[in-house]
Symmetry: C2
Subunit: 130 residues, 2 copies
């Protein structure tokens, strides 16, 4: 498979696949013309990566998860640790966003949104005291 084909099959843009090769996540062979040549194992890896990225894992987490996946002597505890930490980070982010959301939605609700200049949103930004 050339890069275009595997891009379609894996759902990852060709650019991204080249980038993953750059950072050593996949190592496709090369044809004589210099084109990357991907096999089914590469496709499987890329699909794995695409799924892990969809779940929000960082590239470094993905690297570790792939290594664990390929290590038949792994302990599932190691995988669970990574996932749990990731989950904690997600929870932190959600909490942070919800706090923003809370404040913003109040301000938006209070703002008349007409052609007059008075605006509670700007007042908050200018004079907010924690």
């Amino acid at each position: 498979m050339n890069i275009g084909e595997i891009a379609e099959k894996s759902g990852l843009p060709a650019k991204t696949i080249r980038y993953y090769e750059d950072i050593g996540l996949v190592m496709p062979n090369r044809s004589q013309n210099g084109y990357r040549h991907f096999n089914d194992t590469d496709l499987h890896k890329l699909t794995f990566l695409a799924r892990a990225r969809t779940l929000g894992f960082s590239i470094e987490d993905c690297r570790t998860l792939m290594a664990l996946y390929e290590d038949e002597t792994r302990a599932s505890a190691d995988v669970k640790d990574i996932a749990t930490q990731h989950l904690d980070r997600i929870d932190d982010k959600i909490a942070q966003l919800q706090s923003m959301r809370e404040t913003l939605s109040h301000l938006v609700a209070e703002c008349a949104g007409d052609n007059r200049p008075d605006c509670p949103i700007l007042n908050d930004l200018a004079y907010h005291r924690e």
Copy 2:
């Protein structure tokens, strides 16, 4: 005020304040020795920016919001539009994170987390079909 003092008062790192000058968000005067010299207006602007950033507005949003703040003939509708769009982006992000959270928490719950290799998390990554 020198940069150290205003950094402390505004709560922004000196590095960040220099960056904000670079991109034209603040324009402090310079003393004869070349040091930046900030006045109360600068402090007010930086505090405004710090608050806007806390609420998650992008730098470009901040630039627009500051311009509106300084424009006495503004329409509050323009401010409300920016805030509403930002709120929508936040809602999107929260939804995305909660979807990840949902999937991940199930997988984590199913994983034994012991020293055996079998792991539902890796199975999902490797064989997930949407």
